[in-house]
Amino acid sequence: MPATTTLYLTPDDWSAIRLSLALAGIVTLVLLVAGTPLAWWLARGRSRWRLAVAAVVTLPVVLPPTVLGFYLLLALGPDGPLGRLTQALGMGLLPFHFSGLVVASVLYSMPFVVQPIRNAFVAMGERPLEVAACLRAAPLDAFFRVALPLARPAIVAAAALGFAHTLGEFGVVLMIGGNIPGSTRVLSMQIYDHVEALEYAQAHWLAGGLLASSFLVLLALYRLERRAGVPGAGA
């Protein structure tokens, strides 16, 4: 039997899987580091811009990915404001590169990470932080030692959601990254190409794998949630 049929997946398939996993991993990491303070600010900031920023962060939930991808393409392009910035910084242009995918995916998956964390921060209320302040903890200390541990179930859930969501994204990536093998051709794109080429068996392996792994991630998430009880519930 030829190697391709015993392996079931072509080297191109593997490359797309690796790319998708790398993208999802980096995006999740970026979102945890940047999204947690953002969620904190959205939950307890006093700025009048808070609601507007909350709405912007949530936009990707309701917008077709193509809309987001289109405007990102323009903004990051040679004549776009962000494109000029990246060129001035010596980073070149991001579209049709892996880094462009990262930027686009961070924006696209942001609500799925920021919302659950923000909700946990809202649910825990002021009290734990007030208690911490009355026990000599400075605000930053209270954030790391009280708020973050209390929000931990939500943060784990947010990371899983962000990861799974980035893994499955298609529209934004297509708009901003094109379909360059080994550089921007991610899993969902590879599946699309297989289907276009009527390689249904190949498509099944990838699509089925994505379906199963997404299901497992969500299942693990719900089990975690049940074990942790309601996130942020105080005693």
Binding site: E130, A132, A133, A137, A142, G234
Partner: protein, 357 residues
Amino acid sequence: MLAATLQRALPAFTLRAELQVPAQGVTAVFGPSGSGKTLLLRALAGLDRQARGRVAFRGQCWQDDAQGRFVPTHQRALAYVFQEPSLFPQLSVRGNLEFGFVRTPAAARSVGWHQAIELLDVGPLLERAVDALSGGERQRVAIARALLASPQLLLMDEPLAALDVARRREILPCLLRLHRELSLPVIYVSHQIEEVTALAQHLVLLQEGAVLASGPTAQMLARLDLPTAQDEHAGVLIEASVVSHDADFHLARLQFAGGQIELAHGPISQGTRVRIRVQARDVSLALSAHDDTSILNRLQAVVVELGPGINPAHAMVRLDAGGTALLARITARSARQLGLAAGSRVWAQVKSAALVE
């Protein structure tokens, strides 16, 4: 001395509190629900940035909006016990207790680890998870946690309010012990006059956001012009010392400025200084001495003034028994029938009295 002038606007009323309380002993802030007690306490702690004014404690300025000065809560030498224990659920009992303890520089530690654990009797709970504790245990841990931050001022917001009567009885002695053993000034918010009587040497009465009166508890409780006299459990506090103990009948005889009083009590040694609480509803009045009565304690007294009672059927009478103030709650009709007025000589029959500590 804790001195504060605070203002805080709310939809229902504006808190305008001027407060001068000694920086020692227990000061109770007493008032009905919604009188601004918690608001005042939070403002003192710096938890409410909307509150404007001045707060100074032992010469340290904690807040002075005129000078744009505000010391954030975590830099004020205070601890706060909330009405709900508010333990950190992700930490064990030990973790909760350590939280403030490890953040206190060793040189600033005024309460020892073992001392706090023994005072609140939380030793057996140390390794337990917070959600495995009963309500009373949680509040004891919360109080111990506050003490272990070695505060110079302890703020307590109705720490017993969320507990049933049995749990209160379990914690109240802990609080009394705490006040006896630590020279830690406490501001204690409560709407329970029994708690106030048992714990506080100084009383601040709050009504609709303003300080109505403040002063030593015993003096305040004897006044008819304050809402404390309208409480179901209105009564006075009397300083006394033990004269003798009757083991057969289980009675202690106590001497105070206005005479002697006997009350049910276990063995107690002669000369012990005690405080007796006599509730107004347990004092009845007669114009002559009755010997054919089950009431043990009869004190000669002079009526000082009469005031309204908790409802129109009642009247409050303030008496002077040889220099000691007593309150009696009788019916308005009895007051009329006996022809009571300031200067009337009466016998006060004290049906029951209790030692406070």
